[in-house]
Amino acid sequence: MTDSNSYDAIVVGGGHNGLVNGAYLAKAGLKTLILEQRHLVGGAAITEELHPGFSFTTFSYALSLIRPEVIRELELVKFGFNPIYMPTVFAPMENGDYLLLGPDRDENIREIMRHSPQDADAMDRYDHDVTRVLQLLRPLFDRVPPNIFGKSPEDAEDVAWLLGHLGSAEQKVIHDAVRLITGSIADFLDDYFESDIIKGYLAASSTTGTKVGPMSAGSGLVSLMMAMGEHDGHLGSWSFHKGGNGGFTQLLATAAEAFGAEIRLESPVDHVLTADGRAVGVVLTDGTEFHADTVVSALDPRQTFTKLVDPRELPGELVDSIDRFQFKGTSAKVNFALDGAPTYPALAGRTDQYRGFISIAPSIEYLERAYDAAKYGWYSDRPYLDCSLQSFLDPDMAPPGKHVMSCFVQYAPYHLKGSDWDTERTNLGDTVQRNLEAFFPGFSDLVLHREVVTPLDIERVVGLSEGNIYAGDFLAPQMYFFRPAPGWAQYRTPIEGYYQCGSGTHPGGCVMGAPGRLASQQILKDKAAAT
């Protein structure tokens, strides 16, 4: 063993949570090494020039849920944090009409009234009620979940905090929270709205990345997670980081290195080295060893507990839980390089509708039918598409006058019945393009380049099991003090010195950074207690 291969902490995986975790550990003075298997950091949050002059957010494509604490504590402003506000949502309709919402409440009400006078005051009530629930849940995102099974005084204190926090909320807020967490978004929206397009737009995010339909129990939970984000204090607002989420993770890497962390690219870890039940380092696939008494896995729970370490070293109950942990990836991406802006016939000559997301989800029924395919092992013929022409916000994404368009596709299940993704990749791309052509006539003529990313590609390239974009589904039994397994939601593992900090831990996926941050707090607390 040489000194140069010894560290205080080694982080396995240079995705955003690995970078956040490594940055915090380095900032606290630990000699920290971050190991990334690919030639670039970022994991699923990368930007790549896949066609000359066009930058693609290959996987993750927008920023909202990044915790304000991470921005400030890692001094990201100093390194160039630049979240460009996405001011609009554009939801095309099958009859050629559309819903176009922006930051002006009163204009939104008039736009909603165009579709349903009855719904004019519903949005305010809905927004307010959801915001109250988000306020209730927000503190949970910034704290290590309590160990409700623990017996220590500290565990009792954590549980008491949680009960006190929930107990201080109003009955209606708690009830709404439970309805959303356990129920369907369709039922919840029916309490407020009658208009199909408004409900379709609001329900769409409830399906993102998870194998639920808007009528399924549990879709409310996904919807809440998506609404948890903010831009400058505006809840539920989204932004596009300068240079895409790859721009953001490059910034995280710069910050991590500025705090003293070392990042090694093209360094895939084969397994974690253990001795006497504790972590002592890692070995790369090429046999190189690095040593540290703290090893942090930023990979998903399946990798963390069954690939990086030997499951035989773990309690059987934990291994069972991880085996049961659901990863049913159901999302794909199709990214386009376009020769110009698409035309929406009802808004011919206008492009102001392209400054935020384009949500192709004209009704709850449309979404539910899209889900039907996934239930039976196939991808949607008419999928929910969450698109954005990011070059309208950041012109550096494409040559002048040309555009990149990111299209998130739901549903595309990892496990196909009777075929496989290498066979279906082109068909999926064609399906998405055909749907876009239906809403934007002439779309196909604009396509200069197309990049299809199936769930299999997500797994192969990024390493996320079954292509699950959250490193584990957002389902109530997999959240908070159950994420990723009962008793192991506090970022520790049964192997002393071995920690987890990926999106498979609380609070979960999306470019949030909270798992990386909270795990670092736990690691530093344990280190302090040990000395």
Binding site: R72, Y85, Q135, D352, P395, D396
Partner: protein, 401 residues
């Protein structure tokens, strides 16, 4: 009756909000878009254009023009070569600031001074026996401000000379057949230019710039976005940071250059060969350590600010609308520290920032201050500290590439 600028026919079409304010007797767009922040980010990431035509403009020409401006302006005009411009101020004889503006030097004896307020009779009153003439040419020129990282690409496509301009340089050029002056100046703290255009040809030039800007996502920005941009850039605004000492009723409403943080303009003040208005008073102020205030940046402790609202069950407001009033500052013992003259949430800094006047002993970076606000209709304070200004100053602002 309020007037419209030469660009108005185009801007009226672009102003989807139809929100206008009055600026020096002209209609000026408050915001063009439902999202001020979209305009703001346009300047920080792409390119934005702003109509600054209402500025007053004075042509100052004649054999003694340099000597005249040397005695009038606090910043040494002799260091401003033809093809250069200077941000400058002028003071009263007691060393208090009257106004600020930008002076462009076209040749040895040919200058143009911009100002936010009318100044013709004052400027002429300072001529004395010198051979110089001062003419109001405000209405002759329209002024199109083009700012943001893509501004160079947009204007260079029309006027290649633009690419060669250094910070505060200017050049004559032709756009759409019109003789224009392009200067690398602005009020956003970003890479940017101002194009001075003969009023009659304003629309043709605007159309050319707009067409060149479109592939770069150019969008117009209004007063509100400009205000956030200029606060981030730490740039003082007359009416916010100061008003002309000529109209002050007492000493609380007049300020010296040092008090306004503009002491850096007075380079060479010790040189007796240039006796400008207010010089001796300013020297006396400096000798006696008599400055009452120091101008600093203040920044709010975001966590404490957020917690103040969260603990009250509220959502912390982070509006991109600068406060319309002064914000009081307190020291560690609750005594008066000073006041912020401009105060806003800054998207680039991710917290609230303010341009502030504090007691000189509190001016060091890192000095704690407490910033007054109300929560639940009760006065309270958020902790903050003195920080370096400008808050935001990207390398591209002054770099050559």
């Amino acid at each position: 009756m309020v007037m419209t600028t030469p660009f108005h026919p185009r801007l009226a079409e672009l102003n989807t909000t139809q929100l206008w304010s009055h600026w020096s007797g002209y209609l000026s767009a408050t915001q063009y878009d439902i999202a001020v922040k979209h305009e703001y980010f346009g300047v920080r990431n792409a390119v934005g254009c702003f109509d600054a035509s209402p500025l007053y403009k004075y042509a100052i020409t004649g054999r003694d023009a340099e000597r005249y401006l040397g005695g009038l302006l606090a910043r040494d005009i002799r260091t401003c070569r033809p093809g250069r411009a200077q941000y400058t101020i002028w003071c009263d004889s007691d060393g208090y600031v009257l106004e600020d503006g930008v002076v462009f030097r076209h040749s040895a004896n040919d200058f143009l001074l911009t100002a936010a307020e009318p100044n013709l009779s004052f400027l002429r009153s300072q001529i004395g026996s010198l051979e110089v003439s001062v003419d109001d040419v405000s209405a002759d020129h329209a002024m199109l401000v083009v700012q943001g990282p893509r501004s160079r690409a947009v204007l260079s496509a029309l006027a290649p000379e633009t690419a060669e301009l250094s910070y505060f340089g200017h050049t004559q050029s032709k756009i759409a057949g019109a003789e224009v002056t392009i200067s690398r100046t602005g009020f956003t703290g970003d890479l940017g230019y101002e194009v001075r255009i003969p009023a009659a040809e304003a629309l043709a030039v605007f159309d050319a710039v707009w067409a060149a800007g479109e592939p770069h996502q150019m969008r117009p920005f209004g007063d509100q976005a400009l205000n956030v941009l200029r606060i981030e850039a730490g740039l003082p605004l007359i009416g916010a940071e100061f008003t002309s000492s000529r109209y002050s009723f007492n000493e609380h409403d007049r300020f010296t250059p040092d008090e306004l943080g503009l002491g850096w303009l007075l380079k060479g003040i010790d040189d007796p060969s240039r006796p400008f208005a207010g010089r001796r008073s300013i020297l006396a102020e400096r000798a006696g350590g008599a400055s009452r205030w120091a101008t600093v940046g203040v920044s709010v402790d975001w966590r404490a600010y957020d917690e103040l609202y969260y603990s009250a069950g509220l959502i912390p407001p982070k509006e991109d609308t600068p406060a319309a009033w002064e914000t009081m500052l307190y020291d560690e013992s609750g005594g008066r520290a000073g006041y912020a003259t401009s105060y806003t949430y800054s998207p680039m800094m991710q917290t609230h920032v303010g341009i502030a006047r504090v007691r000189p002993e509190l001016a060091a970076v890192g000095t704690p201050v407490h910033i007054e606000q109300t929560v639940d209709h009760v006065y309270t304070t958020s902790p903050g500290e003195v920080v370096k200004m400008p808050f935001f100053s990207p390398e591209r602002k002054t770099s050559m590439s």
